[in-house]
């Protein structure tokens, strides 16, 4: 079984927000909700860098661990999905999520949260019909054999989506090609051959 992962190559991201737009369009997301966001650090400085973030479909997902209704589940492809029928809008997944992925429509009084919405890796969610699935969770491209639209449409191929092994292989090739002094991610001397950030040109 595949282990689906996103990975954003910060050296390639040009902050075009194409992924954000593609996601909104593919999933028909509710007004005010933006499943993917682009964060820019040190904007305008020499060290400026941008990175596209959404749900990263964690192996040990914190949202899953803290949800009072147990509405999250992991598909066979390692995609973290949630059941909106069970969600009560408590916000705990947002407190725990490292990436700020869960969002809540706030149309009720006193800012009471509606049912949580987050990136589904374009894999839809639990529903009785296709129409209901689309209405609640957006498109299910995975069922059609397609990858998430954000990554598919990324103009610089900064945002990669797919099986963790494939994504790691692509990124490793880039790291090797760049010959980056510290393997682009860290200068950890313990980096193993399977490490995503392994620098093959320097560490032998």
């Amino acid at each position: 079984m595949a282990q689906m992962k996103f990975m954003c190559d910060a050296e390639r991201c040009i902050e075009c927000n194409g992924c954000v737009t593609a996601c909104k369009n593919a999933n028909d997301v509710e007004w005010g909700i933006q499943r993917r966001r682009v964060v820019t650090l040190n904007d305008g400085e020499a060290s400026e860098m941008s990175i596209s973030v959404a749900c990263m479909h964690c192996d040990d997902a914190p949202c899953m661990a803290v949800c009072p209704t147990d509405c999250f589940y992991k598909t066979d492809d390692g995609i973290v999905l949630h059941d909106k029928d069970l969600c009560i809008g408590c916000g705990y997944c947002l407190y725990a999520c490292p990436f700020g992925a869960p969002q809540f429509p706030q149309q009720n009084a006193f800012g009471e949260r509606g049912k949580m919405d987050k990136c589904t890796f374009c894999a839809g969610g639990p529903a009785d019909s296709k129409e209901e699935e689309y209405q609640k969770y957006g498109s299910n491209r995975i069922a059609e054999g397609k990858l998430p639209l954000c990554a598919e449409m990324c103009s610089t191929k900064a945002l990669l989506a797919g099986d963790a092994q494939d994504v790691a292989d692509i990124f490793r090739q880039r790291v090797v090609h760049r010959g980056h002094p510290d393997g682009a991610w860290s200068n950890n001397p313990q980096a193993s051959a399977d490490n995503l950030a392994y620098d093959a040109t320097r560490k032998g």
Partner: protein
């Protein structure tokens, strides 16, 4: 580079000689452009990768990832999401998760189940606290209808909030598999709605209750003696107690401190429309859970002592009247002050059936 030659004007003169010159120039320019392009391609092919790297935009450094990991947000941080106040990595999320799942959840359960077990054990080993002397049948007025209504409203709200709160923390381990998704969805949703809407009402009423009981719960010297004798558990005689004994005052001040903290943190969680940060809500949640679980555990003790634990206590809060004997044994100092106001059961029945007015000043002032 001789590319500059390409900028020479290329005109088409009118005379024949000029035309020949023009064509000659055009050919030369084309030749120069082609040659220079050829040389450029060779130059690119021979480029030094190290030289390229040194002039290219700098790569992402480990320091930048450390900055991301720290959750620190500089002035030049941009987020494309509408009204987002989030940094790139929610560094405190993991701390909150560990505090909640590894500490608050298990130890809250230990506190509540442990308290229930200790009370049950106490009941079976020591048993109910009976009155030492027989009842005199003469009644003393202790709680007005208003205070009783306030107490039972707050108590009902407290129990509802405790049960729904416990369901939010532990329910998924029991009820989802027990009842199935459809019922569980309704149950947990109702829990959240009840908890969020009754919480503020409880908060306001508890503060009203605390204010109206403040006068009776000012700590006195004899309360210290009461605690040293463990409220009469050790020794033969009841220690001195006024209208409220040491234990009741402790419960009062626990509600007046921890209770207020639980209410305040509850408001932070209940109204996310004041732009309080995610970190604030994480801490509010931990404080709320610790305080509420602690209060629930102690409340079990209050419920036990007030009902099956002590003979003659519950009727004070249901009928408003207590027996003289009960007052003498449990609240001797209060009894000394109000013993002249004791009435017989016939008088009490007459008072209840006749005019509904109740005595107003039965407490020390």
């Amino acid at each position: 580079m001789n590319l500059l030659t390409a900028q020479a004007p290329v005109r088409v003169p009118s005379s024949g000689k000029g035309l020949a010159l023009g064509i000659w120039r055009l050919v030369m320019v084309a030749l120069v452009v082609m040659l220079s392009l050829g040389f450029t391609q060779v130059a690119v092919a021979q480029a030094d990768p190290d030289l390229e790297m040194s002039t290219a935009a700098p790569g992402i450094t480990a320091d930048q990832w450390r900055q991301v990991r720290s959750g620190e947000v500089g002035p030049n941080f941009r987020d494309s999401r509408h009204e987002s106040t989030y940094n790139l990595i929610n560094a405190s999320g993991e701390t909150w998760r560990i505090l909640r799942n590894r500490w608050v959840s298990p130890f809250g359960l230990i506190a509540i189940v442990g308290m229930a077990a200790v009370i049950t054990l106490f009941y079976f080993v020591v048993g109910r606290k009976h009155l030492d002397e027989p009842r005199t049948g003469r009644k003393l007025f202790r709680w007005s209808l208003l205070m009783r209504s306030l107490h039972w409203t707050v108590a009902t709200l407290f129990i509802t909030l405790a049960l729904t709160g416990l369901n939010l923390l532990y329910g998924k381990f029991v009820f989802r598999s027990l009842f199935g998704d459809a019922f569980w969805a309704w149950m947990i949703s109702a829990s959240k709605v009840l908890h969020n809407y009754l919480g503020p009402i409880f908060g306001i009423l508890l503060i009203v209750l605390l204010l109206s009981l403040l006068k009776d719960n000012i700590p006195k010297k004899h309360d210290w003696v009461w605690f040293k004798k463990a409220g009469g558990l050790t020794g033969k005689h009841h220690p001195d107690a006024g209208f409220a004994n040491g234990g009741e005052k402790a419960w009062y001040w626990l509600l007046a401190t921890a209770g207020i903290v639980v209410i305040a943190s509850g408001f932070v969680l209940d109204f996310p429309n004041f732009n309080q940060s995610r970190d604030t809500m994480q801490w509010a949640n931990i404080i709320h859970a610790v305080g509420a679980l602690g209060l629930t555990a102690v409340a079990l003790g209050h419920i036990y002592i007030g009902t099956v634990g002590t003979e003659g206590s519950l009727e004070a809060m249901t009928t408003g009247y207590v027996d003289e004997t009960w007052a003498k044994e449990h609240h001797n100092l209060w009894y000394e002050e109000v013993k002249g106001q004791a009435i017989s059961e016939e008088e009490l029945a007459a008072r209840k059936s006749g005019d509904h007015s109740e005595p107003s000043a039965s407490r020390p002032s």
